[in-house]
Amino acid sequence: MRPEHPPEIPIAIHDLTVAYHRKPVLWDLELNLPEGKLIGIAGPNGAGKSTLLKACLDLIPKTSGEVLIYGKPYHKQRDLIVYVPQRESVDWDFPVSALDVVTMGTYRQVGWFKRIGKRQRITARDALERVGIGHLADRQISQLSGGQQQRVFLARALVQDALIYLMDEPFAAVDAATEHAMIEILQELNTQGKTVVCVHHDLATVSRYFDHLVLLNMRVVASGPTKEIFTRDHLQKTYGGKLNLLDDVAEALKNLGR
């Protein structure tokens, strides 16, 4: 055990490098994500935010380094961690209902070759109620709006009931009401002591939603409590010369009153 990555840390990343076809996407990452926090990961397009989540989950091969979930490799800690992929990662034209998708969250617990029982279906229905679309349970998923689809994904994560939630752009292209409902649920998870990590692209809401922030651009530019990290200096380092973005940042900073 490395002293800089103690086992009580939910996600400890050591010396992580990921490269696609010799082009590094993440370079020598060193990061501890604290327990029981709402954590935002922000950075420009192509900064490796999604790649970071996938590397934590062994969905893509690591070029070097390791990721420890509460001190152990991911494949020993699967039950502790839930992944919510980007909404576009699946085919929403697939012939299944919202309830079917949420029920998939229970498959691991059901196990090989066994049928889905009443208990799993009730759990799934409850989760759909909790995200506010219980009345759409039997709707085919292509007939849901983008926000409703994202709620289905959140419900699927809820039935998996873990300690750590990794979410890839959960607020991308959803309506304001869904964003509001979802952040409420994430905050609820947070008060239960769970660790929630979201890749987030909207700098205007970063400081409102997250109490811990990681700024990423191929490497970790800054990581820590949002209050300390969300500064013009750090953002400039992260987003570099993307000036139009910097205007947004200036606006966001102004709203913070600093």
Partner: protein
């Protein structure tokens, strides 16, 4: 000829019975497995696989001939076919993983190269002394009539195997097809499941080589599944329906080709399947072209009717001070000004409304709502205003509670929400004033 066809369809002649039944079961198996292939979006991988079986057939023939066995020994040939077929798939995967080539390019390369090599091998083995390779070409286009009892048994076993595996591992295969990343994070062996699916595809393909031929077996895998998709959005129904369509296509196709013996069997079978596809594409309940067109037309009509009745009602409201509203005649001119209507649209809507007995033309040429039309107009206007108030008051919860089914446009809010809203807004009276001023529209809305 017709009598012969009917007898064959009814499985009366003994010699065609096993052929027809065999192709039917093959169709069922390919329909079932093809559905998963379709859902995994890898239909063309099946095509690469089937073309890659040709060199295996030739090589197996050569190997068996040189060992002194009959070069046409079927299990040996099929084993060879399966070997190079799977090899082809592995090449596709390897090309995809090691280069930046897209899957379709990789499949195109493997498909054509393996097929080309196969043709060359077939030519070479013609010269092996003491053996005839004459029958091997029939694997390309299929030769259904050559099916014998042992082939029939092989197909029956294949179908049972496919049914068994999909019954057992449906949940796992569906998860693989819908969201492989979830499957991976839950610890399911994604690669193994993919290989299992490919093994099922390879089994069906190799067993079907003789009946349908390696060029057209892909049609048998894809067409029943895609045809079934037009009828249903339910996965379980999709699987059963694809199995059924595959079976019926096989039954019809094999019977036809048995009677009209000079047509290549594979082609006849595929045409039979394609006719199902065509029918499904046109009439399929869930996504067929014609039902969709009809739904859209109905919706257009419904919306148009609502606009017309509501406009009439709003004009009446504007022209009268006292309530309850009296049902008076209004001029066409007023209607035309009240809202932007497309060219000829208003005339068409009025004609429709007169047919439905919602609107009457007075002798003076003015229009007047009928008794039922007046009731309908006030109901529609009321609903519309409830909807507007709902949006104003509850815009924050609206997106999750509003029905996106355009067909239900009249019932945007469920009965329960309407009651809630009425209670909350203390609006139980029959008419509601518009929450905003109604002005004549002069621009397109």
């Amino acid at each position: 000829m017709i009598d012969g066809l009917i007898d064959t369809l009814l499985l009366k002649p003994y010699n065609t019975r096993i052929v027809v039944l065999g192709v039917m079961m093959l169709g069922a198996a390919s329909g079932l497995i093809g559905s998963f292939l379709l859902l995994r979006k890898q239909s063309l991988l099946g095509d690469a696989l089937s073309h890659a079986t040709l060199p295996g057939l030739g090589l197996a023939f050569a190997a068996m001939s040189s060992l002194g066995i009959d070069g046409q020994y079927l299990p040996g040939l099929l084993l060879g076919a399966a070997t190079t077929g799977v090899l082809g798939i592995l090449f596709v995967l390897a090309i995809g993983r090691t280069t930046k080539l897209k899957d379709d390019a990789a499949m195109g390369i493997v498909l054509s190269v393996f097929f080309g090599i196969g043709i060359v091998i077939l030519r070479l083995i013609q010269n092996i002394p003491g053996q005839t390779s004459a029958g091997l070409e029939s694997f390309i286009y299929g030769k259904t009539a050559s099916m014998i009892t042992s082939d029939f048994v092989l197909i029956a076993i294949t179908l049972s195997f496919c049914l068994f595996v999909t019954f057992l591992a449906r949940k796992e295969l569906v998860l693989l097809c819908f969201d492989p990343s979830l499957a991976a994070t839950q610890g399911w062996p994604v690669l193994f499941l993919d290989l299992l699916l490919m093994a099922l595809v390879a089994t069906v393909t190799v067993v079907g080589l003789q009946a349908v031929g390696l060029i057209l077996i892909i049609a048998f895998l894809i067409i029943p599944a895609t045809a079934a998709r037009f009828w249903t959005n339910n996965l379980r129904h999709l699987l059963w329906l694809a199995t059924f369509i595959g079976a019926v296509s096989g039954w019809l196709g094999a019977s036809l080709s048995a009677v009209f013996a000079n047509f290549p069997a594979g082609a006849v079978i595929v045409i039979a399947a394609a006719s199902f596809f065509l029918i499904s594409m046109l009439f399929g309940k869930a996504r067929g072209v014609i039902p969709r067109f009809l739904r859209q037309r109905d919706l257009r009509r419904k919306v148009g009717r609502q606009h017309l009745l509501r406009s009439t009602y709003e004009i009446l409201e504007k022209s009268q001070k006292e309530r309850p509203l009296k049902n008076l005649s209004i001029s066409l001119h007023l209607l035309q000004q009240h809202r932007f209507w497309g060219k000829g649209e208003l005339a068409k809507l009025i004609r429709q409304a007169r047919i439905e007995d919602h609107l009457e033309r007075q002798p003076s040429g003015e229009l007047r709502l009928s008794e039922s039309g007046f009731g309908e107009a006030s109901r529609i206007t009321r609903n519309h205003r409830l909807w507007e108030m709902y949006l104003i008051k509850h815009a924050d919860i609206a997106p999750s509670h509003v029905d996106r089914d355009a067909d239900l446009v009249e019932h945007l809010l469920g009965a329960e929400i309407v009651h809630q809203l009425e209670a909350e807004l203390a609006l139980t009276q029959a008419t509601i004033e518009s929450p905003h001023d109604i002005q004549a529209e002069t621009t397109p809305s």
